[in-house]
């Protein structure tokens, strides 16, 4: 069976999704402090990698990457509530782009599976 990534339309769809998703994240006062002072181009590339991974596209993301990439944010107070906000933005991004509900659920469950790595537990 083809991946959600392919069903969405591959790379072009992911590029469109990154803009929508990143804009939602930066517009969220509850989580924006974790993104202040970061290079926006690099951050967008990371989000593209994240969206590619959670939709089952070509990637080599590992739990270790997720753990190490977020460790400095844990010190800043990153916890489950922030993770929930990001999942929420991911869900509404996909809905806005017209992704079917069952595909959204699949993507969210993959994203959910990274929770313990992101929060270094």
């Amino acid at each position: 069976m083809s991946s959600v990534y392919e069903q969405l339309g591959g790379e072009a769809a992911i590029n469109a999704a990154v803009d929508v998703f990143y804009r939602k994240v930066l517009g969220d006062k509850y989580v924006v402090r974790f993104f202040e002072g970061v290079d926006m181009d690099k951050q967008a590339a990371k989000q593209r990698a994240f969206l590619t991974m959670v939709t089952g596209g070509p990637n080599s993301y590992t739990g270790k990457d997720m753990r190490e990439g977020h460790r400095h944010l844990i010190k800043m107070g990153l916890d489950d509530s922030h993770f929930d906000h990001i999942l929420c933005h991911l869900r509404s991004t996909l809905a806005e782009l017209g992704v079917a509900q069952d595909l959204i659920d699949t993507v969210i469950s993959v994203a959910e599976s990274t929770r313990d790595d992101v929060l270094d537990r």
């Binding site: 990143y22 517009g27 926006m40 593209r48 590619t52 070509p58 080599s60 993301y61």
Partner: protein
């Protein structure tokens, strides 16, 4: 079987092997991470030869135009000579003209060395021969000009700018290498709205991009916001007004943080002014140059106002301390 030339060595690339894999097999490790064309850590430039377009997916158009590609997904179809950074020969050229634009900005016009080519908006690295001190300056000229133009801001106790202001004279030879930078005009959509925002000598590359766009027949609106702390810090006002008279699609807005703005200008924070004047930036291509704090704040503003990340080109100037 294509050959990859890197740092003077030739490496054979097997069929179905990527540039990254081939070099790795030969014991040459390029920086890389995702190995799937996503993270862009392995961004590499083809100095000779054309990388396949599939190896440029997701890259900014201005990077693709300079033959940058992702080594981890590049299966070369022809011989390539590659480099990590933009490797460039050193040039030497005579200073033709030096004049003061205002009390803290001097304009230098330099001969164009033979075989030097650039895109308006890119920068060069000027070298002081006595001690190899090097600083980057944006090109304000366009490639059809008979000179290279730089705008130099006098940095208090800045070694390079003090030397250029006080010692260098017309007729002297100047050395530099380059060009670099991905802040330049692309003629892919002549109807599109362009937004150019810069503070201080951030005007230099924007002036080049503006004239390049007009010369290449850009039809869509072009908005230029040039900011300074106060009116005396603005420059090229008459030239820019003249361009606005000649080209109705071009709108020039001089901006000042303090005091009265010149006629047709705005007083306020440059980070807020473009949004107040234009509202949404949906579908724009945006160029931001100058002070890094202003550039980064504007980058976020432009993105939140609807510009795609792919369409925001910026060149934050870092002023080296004395």
């Amino acid at each position: 079987m294509p050959t990859i030339r890197f740092e003077g060595q030739d490496y054979f690339c097997s069929s179905d092997e990527t540039v990254l894999e081939s070099l790795e097999r030969h014991g040459v490790m390029l920086p890389s991470s995702c190995k799937s064309g996503t993270c862009q850590t392995c961004l590499t430039r083809a100095l000779k030869g054309q990388p396949p377009s599939a190896a440029q997916k997701g890259l900014k158009d201005t990077l693709a135009a300079q033959n940058y590609f992702l080594a981890c997904i590049c299966k070369p179809e022809e011989d390539l000579e590659i480099g990590l950074a933009s490797v460039s020969p050193k040039y030497s050229a005579r200073l033709i003209k030096k004049d003061l634009m205002n009390e803290s900005i001097v304009r230098l016009r330099i001969e164009v060395p033979e075989d030097f080519s650039y895109q308006a908006g890119q920068f060069i690295n000027l070298i002081r021969p006595s001690d190899e001190l090097t600083r980057s300056y944006s090109l304000a000229s366009i490639s059809s000009d008979s000179f290279l133009e730089l705008h130099i801001k006098r940095v208090p106790e800045g070694r390079m700018s003090t030397w250029l202001f006080d010692t260098v004279e017309e007729g002297d030879e100047l050395s530099f290498f380059g060009p670099s930078g991905d802040c330049f005009y692309l003629p892919d959509n002549p109807e599109r709205t362009l937004l150019l925002v810069g503070a201080g000598t951030g005007l230099a590359p924007l002036h080049g991009i503006l004239r390049d766009a007009l010369e290449q027949g850009h039809k869509g609106p072009i908005h230029l916001f040039h900011a300074s702390l106060a009116a005396p810090g603005l420059y090229l006002i008459d030239e820019l007004r003249e361009i606005a008279v000649q080209f109705s699609q071009f709108k020039y807005t001089p901006c000042v943080l303090h005091g009265d703005a010149p006629e047709g200008g705005k007083q306020g924070n440059i980070v807020d002014i473009p949004g107040q004047v234009l509202g949404s930036f949906n579908g724009f291509r945006v160029y931001l140059c100058g002070d890094p704090q202003i550039v980064n704040a504007l980058r976020q503003k432009a993105f939140m106002a609807g510009t795609s990340m792919q369409d925001i080109h910026s060149d934050p100037f870092v002023f080296a301390p004395a």
